[in-house]
Symmetry: none
Subunit: 193 residues, 2 copies
């Protein structure tokens, strides 16, 4: 999701493109018209339109050799609405089933901090899975990065959390670099398993 949001913001984070959107919001325009209105050369306008089209913010209709560009207001609304969904649900709300909700409710406080590390192995796995939600696959993390995150979740013994994540094959490590393993390779015995 960060992916698409980032692309969306990048698409609109330039004066020329924002002005193009403003002009197309009023009526459709050809490349020539836009170039004249914006005081830019046609290739430049084409370039900006290509970026807006990637985000599906602009649609095209051909008429002879002329191409009429229009704003896709629905797409604009969909994307900007997504910005509003940024609020992160608290731990328990993210849970996928009742066991998880119960365990996370018991061990994670409202500040998203871990109260203690569960002694029971099944419960501990649930907490570990919860910790893993912040890491993406196909991305490398430095040890400092991992430490900072775990420290923010459980200052008393974040080092143990790191060890547990590796033990359960959720993270793998090599030469100070960590990465997330695919979920189906986790040793994720559930409650009472």
């Amino acid at each position: 999701m960060t992916e698409t949001l980032l692309a969306f913001f990048k698409a609109l984070a330039h004066e020329s493109r924002l002005r193009i959107v403003g002009l197309l919001a009023q009526k459709e325009h050809s490349v020539q018209e836009l170039a004249a209105l914006l005081d830019l050369k046609e290739p430049t306008v084409s370039h900006h339109l290509a970026i807006l089209k990637e985000q599906r913010l602009v649609t095209v209709r051909a008429e002879g050799t002329t191409r009429w560009h229009a704003l896709d207001i629905a797409a604009l609304e969909t994307l900007s609405r997504r910005v509003l969904e940024t609020q992160q649900p608290s731990a328990a709300l993210l849970a996928v089933d009742e066991d998880e909700a119960r365990v996370l409710g018991a061990f994670v406080d409202a500040d998203e901090r871990l109260r203690e590390i569960p002694v029971n192995r099944g419960k501990r796995v649930i907490v570990l899975r919860w910790l893993m939600q912040m890491f993406e696959e196909d991305r490398r993390y430095s040890e400092a990065e991992i430490n900072a995150y775990l420290k923010s979740r459980y200052p008393p013994d974040w080092a143990r959390l790191r060890r547990e994540l590796v033990d359960h094959r959720m993270m793998e490590r090599d030469a100070g670099v960590y990465w997330r393993l695919p979920r189906d390779r986790w040793r994720d015995e559930r409650l009472e398993a």
Copy 2:
């Protein structure tokens, strides 16, 4: 409006800043924590935070030499809602009549910040109505959310603004939760009333 919108998009059109917003949406963080989580140096993080603060997307709370940064969700919502409007957001332009335009022009600066709280009750009501535009009906707001928003509009005495909103029956409060009251129940005596 292109001005403020462009600055808003530029602020979020960078991966590091978008990730910072994501992290701050979960909980507040210090510069050090963010630097570790993002695998960046502290000055770099400071730089990004400064840009986000310019857009009032991030608020700061000092504790010793540590500065805890939090996301101002209200500001994020206000700005992204503005994307949907093809409207002019400047305070005076939003006014419904001349009296309002005159008062808002006098008490609200170009940055949408309140210069001072009007002593005259009628003028104060106009300013309060203007503040209310960001709040939706049928939605609950935490006290922290209200505070962050009012603080962004008038740091010197945002607490008084909150009190006034309640006094004028624009907002109601119960157990730390606030919500907007329907406009027809507001005590909105106009100028010289």
